[in-house]
Symmetry: D2
Subunit: 366 residues, 4 copies
């Protein structure tokens, strides 16, 4: 059951990087939402390989087909299946990996757990699996936008040691998409691209941090205790390939402050709405959204599959070396941006429906 | 449904800090496990308030009762209910909080979501809720120990800017429990206690980082895609009160390395087992445990409820100030240690049963 | 996880017939619902033993305590725990059953599955477990009544071969409760009571059929495919102790008609609402409620535990005989009525919240 | 979430009768199971339309494609997706149904719930959805057979008033498949086929009862309380289109016996295994399989879509008549047989894995 996410807006992804295709089934989507393959394709194009010189040179169009759940341009309330066929596969690039385990990759653990593995291009552990998430996220984003005007914007905040100044209150999708790195600070982006270019030439790879802001999130999303909004966001983001850390609001840095420095004091704004002066909480208090911007960060490690030669072992346990062939990203972060956005959208959409059910069904006397 | 955690070893916690009591129902526990109230009490005593001068001065014995699921000292395979009655409650300490929202606390968001709130001592948002988790965690730990000799040890790694050197390979429970802070580095502990003492005197509070290691974890736990082991650990830990961040293995720091520096090279040890030279993966690759130590860190913010005066608003939205009465922890970290351990135990135990079901039921020909 | 029921209005029952107590945790209940122990007690009193000469002579007050989730008479939106302590237990009545398996009872299968069993009074397999269901059902009924005026009325339709004429459109709770059998047809009730009295004297037992009607159910509850409303009702009812069959609407008898005879023709009533002339569908079409009365029936076998001597085996597999001691119901049906009502209420309440979430969150243009 | 079934062996079906296709995603399947499209096709061919003159004359090959989860003929442990494209669709046959509601069909309730409906051939409410169930059932059957030699055989027991004598202990798949009705009693089958032929000529339809036996089921499957084995079987079967009733073992008829007549006495057979003399329990006691044959029955109403003219209303609520065009089954029972088998296999396979996890992971001392 590890391939399903969400409680009411619930997605199940399927597919290996090589084989018939990859995709997603979305169950619980509200009916009568206008949706088209073209709208979903926009988000898929943001995550597809080959989009620039700093991503993998694999060229995959990743054209999506809505197989079910939509009729005459509208969702039916029944499961929406979105399928992307695998094309441009080169299994021969991976033949060595049938035997030899890539360090810090899923090869060895899959073999140990399942006793079998589709070794062509990573199989189920391939980032190609995230196609289903991004497709579903496109629908979740549209629901959130229609109901509450929610805007979700992710961007590259740091590559290796290069950190960009970006104001989550002001950042726009246009600024994010204005360069191939998806860092809205143009100057920082240029430097980041430079070191990624260098890593690529060195057959090496780089990691970094994606930050994501969700604006106009309704108050009241999230549930105390286990399904705190930040807990579900953490799970969503930490389930992405290559993620190693998650922070909400002030995160790890916030632990260096004292209580009086860290607390977000309340005030009432001109419209009578209760607000916080600062937002170290990152838009969530007690596991529940408070209407301020949700701000989170995710750490992505340097890509595990690299061209440089490394010590490793093969299936038989014999020591050997591996310099990976195949076409790999020198840095996953530009393509991780739409993946993080998708996970945030899926969590928020699910909790929006959950809140509606529990807290807005019974008529309140006051 | 936000109060249930786990898929096969599944717990549901209940209760508010004031009211009839708090507790947990555990469903799916294997039968014929020897368990006693005394064993559970050991863990509860590690999290209870009043255990030292650097925790809240509330004195609560938190004595547990096994209401169901155990017969003649053995688990029955039916739901295990553990109940701790609320005693030593002083609702009058909280009467001001019925009206006035504590900054960075759950008061305002609970009111906004539910329209009602048990304002006595935090109600459901109180850390008292974690009694149920710790009690269930005691059972999960025992199962993990019996089946595979798993050891789970948490400890305070950092308070504010004071970070302790601790070797997760070597740390012992005895060292952790040797001081009231639960920092196994005695020298660092002393300094940390000093600054917490000072914060307490200042009616202020401090945060920090808990690190946790799980040793002897079987290979193969975790599931690709959404229920990656690190994703479920992240959710578990981020669902604890006051947590703001989560890291596995190299975490955020790892993103500053290049791929060749970060990858864990493989070798075969003298017993023929495939191992990694380094452990930047933190014991998990591709979402699945690889048999190395699982190492994770959680950021806990400074306690929100402090005695210092802060600007805030009341339920009517009128601006006011609040200097919290009541008996609060100047630093949650010493008591967070058993909570983190409990969440780690719950996740590992659940995935152990899941792995058994999927990967060890069908006889394998080889 | 077999002890949890429902997706949004979700209950977990716990407890054995002997031990600390039995009860329920309800997660997902809407906040701000007025509820009291007295209201819940009313329903519990309808299911408790010792209420009349045709039920078990065990006298148990089954007084309930709300342990959590309610504050100042209102639900908090947090888990509601309801606990009933076990009293008047006589484990010595069951000492023989520690060794000897009662025919058609759970003794042997529990031992085979779990390797251990609380043999005092049936343990977890005791009908005492249904206390938690009935308590939760009381809350579900109140929600359904408040939101939509739903009325759920169960009654004894048949005992052995004696079947009563009862009109589900007209039947009232008052008529049901007017006799100890809960058969609203007074004449039939009298005859039924007579044969139960005889069975009791013979140390034998009887079975029969409970019918249940739910009126004023909103249109649109239920979900196509697996969670069809009738499928979830079937599961709920078939999970009650001693149930052997389930029917919706025309049920098994309906299979003797042809399509033209069986179909419910549509018409539009004076208010403009689409209605059906007949109701062989039992208020559900395509898995979704159509606004007509939901009518279902459940078969309950004769109580397995009887005083007559029967051939059986003991734990060691040695053949022996058993004439059960203890205090048992000669016929479970009078007490099964509130249990069936509770399961129907739980299913409807869950689907009401689910429908709200999926189909009433997104604003519809028309 | 209504489109997912099972807890560990978990399937999600998708698709409408008209549109891109129908299918299933299976999550949680054990790895290293040999499986081929050809094996799945065998079961699909048993449910496909056009297989004989007493089923719908629609000719659909329903050729399946395994899109994911299988590699070199073996399951990978990742989600298995099986897709069947929609072909030979004739939406024009259904154009009238875009406006006019078929009596006792899902048309009106779908419109009321979702505000939108794929009116071409029933959309999601079409029996075509069961392709996914039958495909997944084929895999579940194979797992059950490999692990425990389980055999699941369904057959037509009754059409209208014609009931066949069939011994569930002895019935074979060969006998079932020896005629187009799937009634292993050849003489009865002939008469049944005759009345179905007549109904077809009359533009009418017939219902009846399918019985299903599962042999060699391991002891210990099922879980007390809500997930009793019979409760999950009831849900599975009652989620099939056109089902109106469910019975386990003695069912409704058993309620006419007294306790002493109904109870299954125990004995110990020559191999030392505890057995029951009779099997009125239908192979399940206390919600848990006891190793005897599981025997259940399902009532299927006469097909709702018929050629005869009936009174109905259109979307606007105006009264009209409808004589359905399109190609419909005069009796669903022959095709319902593999559907019932599939649901039984899915429930048993899920509970087999669940039992393994809870009751066979912890080493038992004795």
């Amino acid at each position: 059951m590890g391939n399903t996410f969400g409680h009411l807006f619930r997605i199940t992804t399927f597919g290996e990087s090589h084989g018939g295709g990859v995709g997603v089934v979305i169950d619980g989507c509200p009916p009568m939402l206008a949706i088209s393959e073209a709208e979903i394709q926009v988000e898929l194009d943001r995550r597809r390989p080959g989009q620039s010189r700093i991503t993998t040179p694999r060229k995959e169009a990743d054209t999506c087909e809505i197989v079910s759940g939509v009729f005459q341009g509208q969702t039916l309330g029944t499961p929406i299946t979105i399928l992307v066929r695998n094309k441009n596969t080169r299994p021969q690039d991976y033949s060595e990996m049938a035997q030899v385990y890539r360090p810090s990759h899923a090869d060895a653990t899959y073999d140990a757990k399942y006793g079998v593995r589709n070794w062509q291009g990573g199989g189920r552990s391939s980032a190609r699996e995230t196609i289903g998430r991004v497709a579903a996220g496109a629908i979740a984003k549209k629901i959130l936008a229609q109901i509450a005007g929610v805007e979700i914007i992710g961007y590259v905040k740091r590559i290796k040691d290069l950190e960009a100044e970006i104001d989550p209150e002001q950042v726009t999708l246009e600024a994010v998409e204005s360069n191939i790195l998806r860092c809205p600070n143009a100057e920082a982006a240029e430097q980041m691209i430079e070191i990624i270019d260098q890593a690529r030439k060195d057959a090496n790879s780089l990691g970094g941090v994606v930050e994501c802001v969700a604006r106009q999130v309704p108050i009241g999303l999230g549930s105390p205790v286990f399904d705190k909004l930040e807990a579900d966001l953490a799970k969503g983001v930490m389930s992405l390939p290559a993620s190693k850390g998650f922070e909400i609001g002030s995160g790890f840095a916030g632990t260096r402050l004292t209580g009086i420095e860290h607390n977000d004091e309340f005030y009432t704004d001109e419209t009578g709405r209760i607000r916080t002066v600062t937002n170290r909480s990152g838009g969530i208090q007690g596991g529940i959204s408070n209407g301020e911007n949700i701000v989170l960060r995710a750490a992505f490690k340097p890509t595990a599959t690299i061209g440089k030669s490394q010590k490793t072992v093969n299936q038989a346990g014999e020591e050997t070396t591996l310099a990976a062939k195949g076409r790999h990203d020198p840095c996953v972060l530009p393509r991780a941006v739409p993946m993080v956005e998708a996970m945030v959208a899926l969590v928020l959409c699910d909790h929006l429906l959950r809140n509606e059910a529990q807290c807005r069904t019974l008529p309140r006397s006051e």
